[in-house]
Every structure is written in structure tokens, then in C-alpha cells.
């Protein structure tokens, strides 16, 4: 039992990042009293992220000052269910957030929409290639239960909240030159124009175009013009400073949840946020149909019970799933019998890339960068090409970005260069200003042996079992990455001024997924959305099947991962869920779908 019980609130929201603050804004303005519980501290762009102090590569990019503290809570990891999982003792492969704004303050800002077929992945492939195509491999790809047409207004709204700059490729069915011709029809253009492009990404786009592909600027939350969002937030144009990913933006030039949402909500009578409030569990009613609120540890280390009519889980995908497991919400997935749903269909992102070395008259000035600065093609994303003979589902965008030239990590060296010594030093210096990259940002299918559950041995500082992750790249994705890397190399060979290139395939033969090198903070699944309670944790409105007053947000909803970065899609889903909470649930609380 918690030491102290507080007065009841209408809505308690776990987590003060992108989804949590969006939920608080929409529900507070709909008349609900909202309490946000954030495990981290207060921080703000103007006072905490100002340059040049923020431009400290060591502190933020390598010592993870803005990210979660794994000495408090981490997860354990193994590649396969037969192995013993061990703790992720320091951050590496992914960098979840902690503190006001969550990971939304240190993200890159590449903002995508899902393709229409992404949301109906199983039906799409079955229609196109027959049932056999999916059952050849043991993969558990499924439909989302919500369509592109249904999500479109919400994807559009988030593009407005974040002031996305891009070139539309399909407005109401009309295909536009210079945009992504494969995207689903959008109701209107992006709110802002695309970013300026440096030489390296321009050479990529030219090479791709020569091969007949369709390059377009990556949709960007690094602002390209002075802009006011629908909540009234004022944003400024990006300076291409190259301190973006892993940093907060003191210029108000990268959309984040603090400047885009929090500032427009703070002071509202219906809004309260408590910092250093670490949620331990969601508490359940005795009839087992609803949650009664949440228990958290406050900044004095005291357990506090916050009763609420509605619980919104916005703690980031992995920690939402962890909270469900430690709270006994839903049935945990058991991979041996393939029963249960919580923790099922965990997926990640499949990356393969080439570092490209240019002639010496190409000066890339890599330090002029931004998180979402780059060009991409979508010709090899899910369903955008004929996969009948290729034997894999999914795909990804192929892009060239210029995010930064910070020299602790930006050290492009040709294949065969030693890892230290004179030759290495020479190679770093010779190639620093003459290199670029081309990346396959590939999807990740769900498979029965990739999942999340609780670790039997290791605990967090509060004594709760750690989340246990079991993951390796499924064969389907290894085939996809091999094929995608061939396309990457073809483009590189078509590019002008290229001297040589070096490739890396994270899902290559004999390569097991590792939690050590940074890949992406795109952990997905584990509490997936759907229309069948046997294969999903929440119904198509993001409402838990088992506890109708618990709503779930974030990438844990994805039944499998897309060939895109997740925030655009997960914020589209968040606004979809919030609309149904406001219009259907709050006026008449009940399960919004029959199980």
C-alpha cells in the first residue's frame, strides 16, 4: 500500500514526452483535470539548451546527459530465448528520454507518415501474393485495425503541431513533382517548405534520379521558416548547427514537446505536472475491469497513490510494456505456447548503409547539419515495388542525411583502415570533409521469438523485475537488408565524384543484433493495436481490451515496425485516440469495441 493517497483526478498521464503532453493538452482543454507524472526533472529549451553550452558533444552525445538513467532502471537483453539475458549496463543501441519532453527533445526530427499498405500489412501481402507468401516464414505480421484514411487528419494535425517542412508528393490524389510519389494522399501540403540541401545529399539525389528513382527532401521538424503552430507556439528557422540529435535545441528551431505543447498548456487550470515522480505501477479495481489510478515514488522517495478515472500510458514504448507487466495488466505473452499478448510482437529497425568517399574537390562541410537534413527515395519501401520473387515483406526508405560532423563520432574512414595509429589518424583527417552516407532505413517484422517479458534475476532500484528483451533480426529482415544494401550500392555507384565506399549491414550474415552500437530509438510493439483481443493489447482506439479506462500511446502500439521513423505515425495514432476519448469515451465510459 502506498503511504499517501491524493485526491482523485480525472486523468492521470504517465510520462511528459510527446504523447503525454499531447494527451494533457487535448484533455485539459476538453474539460478534464489532468495530472502528468514525469520521472525526470524540469528543463526548458530557453534556459537549459542554449548554445554554446548545449553544444557539448562529450556531455550530451557521449555521456547521455539528456537520456534516461540506466542505473535506476534498465532492461536485460539476449538474442534468443535459450540464452540468459544480461542487463544493458549502459545505453547504446537506443537512447530513451527522461525529463520534461522525453526523447522528444533530443530526437532528429525526421517526420514520416505510414503508407496506406503499412497499416494493412497482412491483408495487403495476402491480397497481392497469396496466403503462402506470409506463412513461408514464421512471422506474425498483422493489420493495425485503423486505416490510412482514418489516420490522415491526425497525421496532418501533428505535421502542423511540429511545423514540418517538406515537399508533398500526393495531395488529394494529385502526384506532385519533387515530393514522395508513393505517399498516401494527403489533405494538404506540409506547413513549411523543405530544408536546403548540402552537396553530399544532392549528389545522392542526382544518382538516385539517374537510376529512375524518385528523390525528395526528408520531411523535417527542424523548422525552415518562422512559424506559429495551431496551439500558438512560435518556432524559429533552423540554423543547421549540427548539434541536433542527442541535444536539445535552444534556438526554438527543432519541434519538441516543450515548446510546441507544454508552453501553451502550462498555467491551464486543468493541468498539473509533477517532476521526479517515478510511476511504479497501475493499480486495478477489485472487479478487474478498470484501473483505479497509479502509484508512484515521489522526489522524497515516498510512495504515493494518485487515483484517477482514466489512465493514459505515455511512458515510451518499452516502459509502457514494462508497467503493464509489473502491474499485471493484460496477459503476458508466453512464447512457448504462443499465448498472451503483452510483450508480443516486439520489433526494431533494420539498418544497412554505405559510407561514401568523394573526390577531394567535393567539400561536404559535414558540421553544417540538422537532424532531419537529407534526401530520400521511397521506391523500396513496403509494397512500393514488386516483391513477388524476392521472398521478403517490408522494405525501407533509402536516404542520405547530413546530421553532424562532430568529430568524436564522425570519423569516416575507408574500408581496411586500422582502428588507431598513424594510418587511422591520417585517414580521419583526409576524409573528414569529403564523405557522405547512404542508408537503408528498413522495417522490422514481428516474429514469435522476439518479445518482451520480465527478467527472473535482475531488478531496478525500486526492486521491480527488469524488462527482458529477446531479439534478433528475423530471416525475412536479413533478406530485406541484403536486397536493400544492393540497391544502396547501385545508387552509390551511379553517384558522381565517388572514389570508394564502405558498407555495413547490421542484419548481415552471422551478425546478431547487439545492444552496443547506436542504431535507432525506434523500439516498437509489445502492446499492439488491433481488432482481435487474441493478438492485440488495445483495440483500434488505443483502449486496453481488459481495462477500458486505460489508454495506451506510443510505438508499443505498432504491430510490426515500419520502414520509417516512428514519431509521425505514433503521434497520428495519439491524436486519433484522443479524438475518440473526447467524443466517445468520456461522455460515456465503456469499452469502445466488443471483445
Amino acid at each position: 500500500m502506498a503511504a499517501r493517497t491524493l485526491p482523485k483526478t480525472d486523468v492521470v498521464i504517465i510520462g511528459g514526452g510527446w504523447t503525454g503532453l499531447a494527451a494533457a493538452y487535448e484533455l485539459a482543454n476538453n474539460g478534464q483535470r489532468c495530472v502528468v507524472l514525469e520521472r525526470g526533472r524540469y528543463r526548458h529549451d530557453a534556459t537549459y539548451f542554449a548554445g554554446p553550452g548545449e553544444h557539448d558533444d562529450l556531455k550530451y552525445a557521449h555521456q547521455y546527459e539528456h537520456m534516461m538513467d540506466v542505473s535506476t532502471q534498465t532492461l536485460t537483453f539476449r538474442n534468443t530465448p535459450e540464452q540468459t539475458a544480461l542487463p544493458m549496463r549502459r545505453l547504446g543501441s537506443f537512447l530513451p528520454g527522461q525529463g520534461l519532453g522525453g526523447a522528444g527533445i533530443h530526437w532528429n526530427g525526421q517526420n514520416w507518415r505510414p503508407l496506406p499498405q503499412d497499416l494493412q500489412m497482412r491483408s495487403f501481402y495476402v491480397d497481392r501474393y497469396g496466403e503462402q507468401f506470409l506463412s513461408d516464414d514464421d512471422i506474425t505480421v498483422q493489420d493495425w485495425g485503423v486505416t490510412y484514411e482514418e489516420l490522415e487528419p491526425h497525421l496532418d494535425f501533428f505535421e502542423r503541431v511540429a511545423g514540418i517542412g517538406g515537399a508533398a508528393g500526393n495531395v488529394g490524389g494529385e502526384i506532385r513533382e519533387g515530393g514522395n510519389p508513393f505517399e498516401g494522399p494527403r489533405s494538404r501540403d506540409y506547413p513549411n517548405p523543405p530544408m536546403k540541401q548540402p552537396i553530399a545529399t544532392t549528389l545522392f539525389a542526382q544518382g538516385a534520379a539517374q537510376l529512375g528513382y524518385n528523390p525528395f527532401p526528408i520531411p523535417s521538424a527542424n523548422l525552415t521558416a518562422a512559424y506559429e503552430n495551431p496551439y500558438g507556439a512560435q518556432l524559429h528557422p533552423c540554423t543547421y548547427c549540427g548539434f541536433c540529435e542527442r541535444f536539445g535545441c535552444g534556438y526554438y528551431a527543432k519541434a519538441d514537446p516543450i515548446i510546441c505543447i507544454y508552453d501553451r498548456l502550462v498555467g491551464h487550470d486543468n493541468f498539473e505536472i509533477r517532476f521526479n515522480a517515478y510511476v511504479m505501477r497501475v493499480d486495478k479495481s477489485s472487479d478487474g475491469k478498470t484501473a483505479t489510478g497509479v502509484t508512484y515514488v515521489d522526489e522524497d522517495g515516498q510512495e504515493v497513490f494518485q487515483p484517477a478515472d482514466i489512465v493514459c500510458m505515455c511512458a515510451y514504448s518499452l516502459w509502457n510494456v514494462h508497467l503493464m507487466l509489473v502491474s499485471g495488466l493484460g496477459e503476458p505473452y508466453d512464447f512457448r505456447n504462443r499465448t498472451g499478448t503483452v510483450g508480443r510482437n516486439y520489433a526494431y529497425q533494420t539498418l544497412a548503409a554505405a559510407t561514401v568517399f568523394f573526390e577531394k574537390d567535393i567539400l561536404t562541410n559535414p558540421f553544417m547539419g540538422a537532424g532531419a537534413l537529407g534526401m530520400a527515395i521511397d521506391d523500396f519501401n513496403t509494397g512500393n515495388f514488386d516483391q513477388g520473387d524476392l521472398g521478403f515483406v517490408g522494405g525501407g526508405y533509402i536516404g542520405s542525411t547530413q546530421t553532424n560532423g562532430r568529430p568524436i563520432a564522425y570519423q569516416p574512414t575507408p574500408a581496411g583502415t586500422p582502428g588507431f595509429g598513424l594510418e587511422w589518424k591520417r585517414a580521419v583527417r583526409d576524409n573528414y570533409n569529403h564523405s557522405g552516407g547512404v542508408l537503408l532505413h528498413g522495417s522490422s517484422v514481428a516474429s514469435p521469438s522476439n518479445f518482451l517479458d520480465l527478467d527472473p534475476t535482475y531488478t531496478d532500484v525500486f526492486g521491480r523485475p527488469l524488462l527482458r528483451m529477446t531479439f534478433d533480426f528475423p530471416e525475412n529482415d536479413r533478406r530485406m537488408a541484403a536486397y536493400g544494401l544492393e540497391r544502396v550500392v547501385e545508387i552509390v555507384e551511379a553517384m558522381d565524384s565517388v572514389v570508394s565506399y564502405a558498407t555495413v549491414n547490421r542484419a548481415g550474415p552471422e551478425q546478431n543484433y547487439s545492444v552496443v552500437p547506436y542504431q535507432t530509438t525506434h523500439n516498437t510493439g509489445g502492446a499492439v493495436i488491433g481488432t482481435d483481443p487474441g493478438t492485440s493489447v488495445v483495440n483500434r482506439y488505443g483502449q486496453m481490451w481488459d481495462y477500458h479506462n486505460v489508454f495506451v500511446f506510443g510505438a508499443c502500439l505498432f504491430p510490426q515496425n515500419l520502414g520509417y521513423n516512428p514519431t509521425g505515425p505514433l503521434m497520428g495514432l495519439a491524436y486519433w485516440t484522443l479524438e475518440h476519448m473526447k467524443n466517445a469515451y468520456i461522455p460515456n465510459p465503456r469499452p469502445l469495441m466488443d471483445a
Binding site: 548554445g51 554554446p52 553550452g53 553544444h55 557539448d56 558533444d57 562529450l58 557521449h62 555521456q63 547521455y64 538513467d69 540506466v70 542505473s71 534498465t74 537483453f77 539476449r78 538474442n79 544480461l86 542487463p87 544493458m88 549496463r89 549502459r90 545505453l91 547504446g92 536546403k196 540541401q197 548540402p198 552537396i199 544532392t202 533552423c238 540554423t239 543547421y240 548547427c241 548539434f243 567535393i362 567539400l363 562541410n365 558540421f367 553544417m368 560532423g405 562532430r406 568529430p407 568524436i408 582502428g419 588507431f420 595509429g421 598513424l422 589518424k425 580521419v428 583527417r429 573528414y432 570533409n433 534475476t457 535482475y458 531488478t459 546478431n512 543484433y513 547487439s514 545492444v515 552496443v516
Partner: protein
């Protein structure tokens, strides 16, 4: 006690290594002037070992070696501080013998302890000759043998840690006392912390030759000597 870091590190000079003493550039910031202070973490022997090792990682050429660029001071400060004490590291046991490379670091030691143990272990290993007593080829062979080593988990973890720290120290902002006189940034042409490229990013193949400026640089003023608040001894 009269103390000189420069004197300690001078002993590492060996055939083939530069005989030049680390040259101290004008102070960039409050931390830069450590000459008159004892080490924060190392003892003299450890400092010499580390200097010899990081200079194999980053030797002198037209640009300074690691130790010349302050990397030993950088590592000393890091290991004495929160990083060295294991801040941000999950150190609860058990620590099983057999681990997968994909599971990452699995030793029970925070970085400072790993480095002390690592120096002790690798100095005692190989053929018993200390790193600093070897000639250049001997030092290269000694350090090379630790790379990707299966020798022991401590030796392997120590090697990875030292390579990481040397790289950090050579390229991190000079407020941490490495990257002296912007050695690392000058080498690659990185302009540093004062970054504003809105009107330049789409000018293709145009050089951007500016002097690097770190966090402690104050626009419109020279080197930030006024920040030098510590008194000098020795």
C-alpha cells in the same frame, strides 16, 4: 612539494617518439592550467603508462599526439569525476562468467576501477617489460596485442575503455582539458561550438575556413584568459 606533470610525462619519451615536451598553449578556460597540480586520479606510473598507450592510439604527425593535446589530463579528470565513478552505469549483479558480445559491458567495475585494474593486469602480462620501457615497435606490439583481445575480460574491457577515452580527449571541447589548442578540431577542420550555417549550408564545395571556437570562447573577445581563475604553483 614541487610537482610537474610535464616532468612526469617527459619520461615517456622513447626512441622514435617525439622528444618534444607537450607544449602548453595559452589557457582556453578555467580547467586548462593543471601543471602545478597533482593528478586527480592517477599516480605518476599510471599517468606514464596512459600517456604511452594513448600516444600509440594517436601518435604525433603534423598534428599533436594524444598526450601532447592534453589527453592524459583529460582522462585523469574524467576518471576522478562522476564518469569514472560509474554514474549512469547499472552495476547490480550477478556478473556471470560467460556473456555474449551483443550484451555489451558486463564487468562489475566502474571506469576508474577498470582502468586501474587494467593497467595492473596488462603490465603484469605479456613478457613483464613495462610499456614505457619499450621502444616504439615494442609499444605498438604491446598495445596491438590488447586490441580485440580475448586475453581476459578485464584486458579487453580496459582496451576498449582506453581507446574510447583517448578519442574523447582528443576531440571533446577543450573545457575538459583535452583537445588543447583545438588540436583535434584543427586536424579535421571542425569549427566547434559556435555554429550558425543557415546561409552557408547550400553553398556547394565552398571551404569554410574558420578558427575553431569552443564553449568557453566569448564572441568578440580573444582567448578566454579571463576565465583563468586558478592560481599557478610550481
Amino acid at each position: 612539494m614541487k610537482f610537474s606533470r610535464r616532468a612526469v610525462l617527459a619520461h615517456i619519451g622513447a626512441a622514435g617518439l617525439s622528444a618534444a615536451l607537450p607544449v602548453r598553449s595559452p589557457a582556453q578556460n578555467a580547467y586548462a592550467d593543471l601543471e602545478g597540480r597533482p593528478w586527480f586520479f592517477f599516480n605518476d606510473e599510471q599517468a606514464r603508462f596512459v600517456a604511452a598507450m594513448v600516444d600509440i592510439f594517436i601518435p604525433e604527425d603534423e598534428f599533436p599526439s594524444a598526450s601532447q593535446a592534453g589527453v592524459v589530463d583529460f582522462i585523469d579528470l574524467q576518471l576522478a569525476g562522476p564518469y569514472g565513478r560509474g554514474e549512469g552505469l547499472y552495476l547490480q549483479g550477478p556478473f556471470p562468467e560467460s556473456t555474449l558480445p551483443t550484451q555489451g559491458y558486463q564487468l562489475p567495475y566502474p571506469p576508474a576501477e577498470l582502468v586501474s585494474r587494467g593497467i595492473e593486469e596488462v603490465e603484469g602480462g605479456q613478457d613483464g617489460i613495462r610499456l614505457v620501457d619499450r621502444d616504439l615497435a615494442g609499444r605498438e606490439a604491446f598495445v596491438g596485442a590488447l586490441s580485440g583481445t580475448q586475453q581476459s575480460p578485464v584486458a579487453g574491457g580496459f582496451f576498449d575503455e582506453m581507446l574510447k577515452l583517448a578519442n574523447w580527449g582528443y576531440f571533446a571541447d577543450p573545457i575538459y582539458d583535452g583537445n588543447r589548442d583545438y588540436a583535434g578540431w584543427r586536424m579535421v577542420g571542425f569549427p566547434g561550438a559556435h555554429a550558425y550555417y543557415l546561409s552557408f549550408v547550400d553553398k556547394h564545395n565552398v571551404p569554410y575556413p574558420v578558427d575553431p571556437k569552443g564553449i568557453a570562447h566569448v564572441p568578440g573577445e580573444g582567448p578566454a584568459e579571463f576565465l583563468e581563475t586558478r592560481s599557478r604553483e610550481g
